[in-house]
Symmetry: C2
Subunit: 260 residues, 2 copies
């Protein structure tokens, strides 16, 4: 398989898609809600997913596609080459802020991560990796992550997970938040994962992501030595929803005690 | 008083200071802690405050200066013209992220806000107002804020304020967070206030800010119809530490019930 060629195509398409998104911010969006008022979807989510499906099917007809808007394939196994696509990760930011959103692509072969690409079109920042060949932000290599400790760590965790909920122990989370140097929340999982890769964050905790949310970022952050698992410390299954804990070494092991 | 001339000087100096900060990100910083490990201060905080003091004293020798690093004047009253300066708001972001920080200037005359300027040097975004003459991001006028409701609102609140603390009622905050469309946390008060002014956020809640943290942003957000007070609904006193609630109309009144 020509992973370099596939990565080049994916980068070209994600940049085109990003330009469409930025252009759309100048005109009115059609906004609908999916499952709840906080789960927005726009005409652009659908249009961008269709854009990728046409490109991929036209060039790689045997590849399969799993996308947030459901226009791709219905996958029950992870055989062959599969593209995980989130056309707009952070739709709420896209609608309210016109920034802090990203397009995410993860390409897996027989369940193994091969290519991860996240594009923040407003910042024109393209995070990418071909597994084993290093990770980049635009054309600059992202250094390997060192080790850290939570007392000096900034971790992304949304305030909602400090309230009573079924997925995280509220008392343990309270103890963690008090121990950290600081917390942040950006509302865009793909960016929060690559911010761990670039060292802007030392960790990120979120109880429920879909494969298209973490599929691209997981490959990038692992390439620089970051650790990404579910809350039990298991590898992520790229065709199932999952809790996600991602952090630099040292911080990861400490955070795992709070979320497990 | 020539407020236009003073604003032009302040903009010129804040841009120069921003360039110094961006340049400093290329070299190693000397980092110390002030009161706690999460309250960092760098050599650049001090250098930038000194930069402003020299500029202001050289040009407006009768103006007084209140700055975060304490090199300015000791103020007990707010007579005359006073500059509130935060040389780096969001020092933790400056150190860890090399982005998401700002320089903040608020200029008050006899306690009345006259000029507000916030500069995000990494984004090259300059938010400014001369009171009564409109607010701008770079050279683009920021529209007046409409009214909103919390159910459709994104509000900045740090996760730490969902834990038991002496300044906010944890149960009321939990109820609020569940009612909001979403929460965010950026770790830079000056930017979080101007994000309310630009509509990227619908509100921002924080229990303890110093005058230099809110002095510039308060003038900008009020200029576009935003409301900024302490948690009791009182006007902010620009020489005292304070809780700060800032939001667009409608959202403000609803948020006040949760923080009062």
């Amino acid at each position: 398989m020509q992973w370099n060629e596939i990565a080049d195509h994916a980068k070209q398409w994600i940049k085109e898609a990003g330009s469409l998104l930025v252009a759309s911010l100048q005109v009115s969006l059609v906004i609908e809600t999916k499952s709840s008022a906080s789960d927005l979807v726009t005409n652009m989510d659908r249009q961008i997913e269709q854009f990728f499906i046409e490109k991929i099917q036209g060039t790689y007809p045997h590849h399969r596609i799993l996308g947030e808007e459901g226009y791709g394939d219905k996958l029950t196994s992870f055989e062959g080459t599969v593209w995980l696509i989130d056309p707009i990760d952070g739709t709420m930011n896209f609608v309210h802020q016109k920034r802090n959103f990203a397009i995410s692509i993860g390409i897996y072969h027989d369940g193994i991560g091969k290519i991860g690409i996240i594009y923040d079109p407003v910042q024109d920042e393209l995070y990418s990796t071909i597994a084993g060949e290093g990770a980049y932000c635009n054309d600059i290599a992202i250094p390997k992550l060192g080790t850290g400790i939570v007392e000096e760590g900034i971790v992304a965790v949304n305030a909602i997970w400090l309230t009573e909920n079924s997925m995280l122990n509220c008392e343990k989370m309270t103890a963690l938040v008090r121990r950290l140097r600081g917390t942040r929340s950006y509302g865009c999982a793909a960016l929060e994962i690559v911010y761990v890769a670039t060292g802007r964050l030392d960790g990120y905790i979120t109880p429920r992501l879909s494969p298209w949310d973490f599929g691209g970022g997981a490959i990038i952050v692992q390439e620089v030595g970051g650790i990404i698992t579910d809350f039990k410390g298991n590898s992520l299954n790229p065709i199932e929803k999952s809790s996600v804990l991602v952090a630099k070494p040292g911080v990861y092991e400490q955070l795992l005690e709070y979320v497990n």
